[in-house]
């Protein structure tokens, strides 16, 4: 009897499997007829995932906007692959290269070495790298990679101007994610902006050591606000969310403090207590949109190091300016012109910053 039951069970499973398999095959063949040799653009997220409210999300918005304007479909025409661990970067990038995507973006400098390796293995593939420059053994940019970088120092300078003109205590904080050359561009640009309009201002700068530690961000913000700072520039990804939490708590208790957001317009994140003074936006979406457009037109900018600054609208202050005074806004516009025409060169490293300070006196 036992055997009989098993036999029935097996028969059931086989029937079910064949029925379902029928469905499966139907769908795949249907899908493949739709896939003609049309343009395809893909991106691989880092471990933050596509909904990180920051960098990856912004990149994906760039691709979806491009898809909308060019009649491409999400999931086939433009597509993202998520990475759950660092060792996923390489297989994910490879998958898209093997599927003949016309361009594949690696989002973030953490993918630099993987992109470099894959670019050399697949000379015909077109790749894009955000926030780093892909080079070969001789430190020359790889011919089939478009390296996309941003002049974060310029945008940070402008929010620094806003901070310098808004502060009442003349004490301003900067919280960075991980102490690296990239984040130093944010810090020094910001400090230069503050000092230019408000030489008396004192600036506290500290690094949390991680982009995904809101608790640390909050602890550092607590210290800085207690020391008397009334504005903090949180340039730390998800860690910055802790700064928002602390600022909201203080504002709720009747002590008004401000946060300056980063990467995206973080005005909504400061609500309902309204603690976002302004944000330094980094238009990853725009950069991706532009490069994809060029690629589609057959002008893939391979081997080039693209720098998106104020001039290209690649960085800047957030469109929401409800909390910024008229005076600050007009001087932001003045300095923007000065940076674009080259009369101010914003420092990126500690050395350049010290030098910049001497020119102010």
């Amino acid at each position: 009897m036992f055997k009989k039951r098993i036999a029935v069970l097996v028969a059931f499973v086989v029937v079910l499997a064949s029925v379902l398999a029928g469905c499966g095959n139907g769908k795949t063949s249907g899908g493949s007829t739709n896939q003609k040799s049309t343009f395809k653009a893909g991106m691989v997220t880092d471990t933050g995932g596509v909904d990180d409210k920051s960098f990856n999300q912004s990149a994906w918005e760039g691709l979806t906007n491009f898809a909308k304007d060019n009649g491409l479909k999400k999931g086939t025409g433009v597509k993202y692959l998520q990475s759950t661990q660092a060792s996923d970067y390489s297989p994910n990038l490879n998958t898209m290269v093997h599927q003949n995507f016309n361009i594949v973006y690696g989002i973030g400098f953490l993918m630099q070495s993987d992109i470099q390796k894959i670019a050399q293995q697949n000379p015909k593939a077109h790749l894009g790298l955000i926030d780093a420059v892909a080079v070969d053994k001789n430190n020359k940019p790889l011919k089939n990679v478009a390296s996309i970088t941003f002049k974060e120092q310029q945008g940070s300078f402008l929010v620094g101007v806003v901070a310098g003109l808004t502060t009442k205590t003349n004490k301003i904080g900067f919280i960075g994610g991980v102490n690296s050359a990239l984040l130093k561009k944010f810090e020094n640009g910001f400090k230069a902006g503050v000092k230019t309009v408000n030489p008396k201002a004192e600036i506290y700068a500290q690094y949390a050591g991680a982009f995904d530690a809101p608790d640390k961000g909050r602890a550092i913000a607590q210290t800085m606000y207690t020391k008397g700072a009334d504005i903090i520039y949180a340039s730390a990804g998800n860690t910055g969310n802790g700064v928002f939490t602390e600022a909201k708590n203080r504002t709720k208790n009747g002590k008004k403090v401000w946060v300056i957001g980063v990467d995206k317009d973080q005005h909504d994140q400061g609500m309902p207590e309204n603690v976002t003074l302004t944000s330094m936006v980094k238009r990853v979406d725009k950069a991706i949109y532009d490069v994809t457009k060029q690629t589609k037109a057959g002008k893939f900018p391979g081997g080039k190091v693209l720098e998106f600054g104020l001039e290209e609208n690649g960085v800047g202050i957030a469109p929401t300016t409800d909390n910024v005074s008229e005076k600050a806004l007009s001087s932001v516009n003045d300095y923007k012109k000065k940076i674009i025409d080259g009369s101010i060169k914003v420092p990126t490293t500690d050395k350049e910053y010290t030098k910049y300070l001497t020119t102010l006196k």
């Binding site: 036992f2 039951r5 499966g24 998520q82 599927q99 953490l110 991980v178 050591g209």
Partner: protein
Amino acid sequence: MKVNAFLKKINWMTLLIPVISVVLGLVCGAVIMFAIGYNPLLAYQSIIESIFLQPYYGGETIRAMIPLVLAGLAVAFAFRTGLFNIGVEGQLMVGWFASVACAIIFGHLPKFILLPMSVVAGGAAGALWGFIPGLLKARFKVHEVISTIMMNYIALYTTAYLIKNFLYTEGERTPTIPQAASLSSAFLANLTQGSRLHWGFVVAIIAVTAMWFMLWKTTKGYELRAVGFSPDASEYAGMNVGGNIILSLTISGIFAGLAGAMEGLGTYQYMTINSAFTGIGFNGIAVALLGLNTPVGVTLAGALFAGLQTGGMTMQSNAGVPVELIQIIIALIIFFVGSGYVIKWAADRLKRKGHKS
């Protein structure tokens, strides 16, 4: 005749539980996919096709299998002595760091010295990270679950500190190790369309054999297992229980450290500053559990998990199913293994009813 006798010796019931668990896990995963509106058949089809028909993903699967199997062996070995080594993750990280650091510092040495030396460095660092909780347990009765978890955090932040201050290069990582210390091979890469498959699989095979030999073919192994079955009885029989606990966690640490060395010398060729755990060590617990803490079982379970993880990425690209679903399936499989008692009970009932009617 001999084969028959061997087949009779196997306890089919215990073998059945992991197999049923895997099937149930996959079925439940399919139901979830179906409910959210994805095509489960297409999803599983893309996993199987990519792993078995496309050399690239086949190579990547074996690559992902190497650290998983070693981490699984680490957990299983300690478990045989009745110890829960939750610290595989930390032991893996110090092993990873030590192997990479050794390769960079002694980069001028020839390959036949440097490569084995770096692998050994990884194992030794892992051993140290296992020895400390072992000592605490044997001398002061500190529960190894707590101490090994804490050691994970110490490892995470210590390695980050050391990289930051001594071996830092742009991109939040150490420099790339010299070719003389690398396990990667152009031959294996060409064979698998440029995957990152490396010679580490040889180390994994040796480790699997070593665990089997140590536990079942040596007197010391017999002692270790005896302590696992009953510490009191072993002590009564004149065995040094404390010493065996330290030894077991140390050897477990060696396996975990080797897993880290494989990542450092094989997959990545460098170490990044990790802000979170790699997850390999924790997956190792699942691998050991599913593999019934036997060397062969761990190998098979490691292959399954590596296949699911690698195939999960093609599932994402072909069927549009989010990668997170693979984690759910893995969790479900573990859940069913954990509730193995229920499966056993159901099977027994099915059998008994069959006899009655």
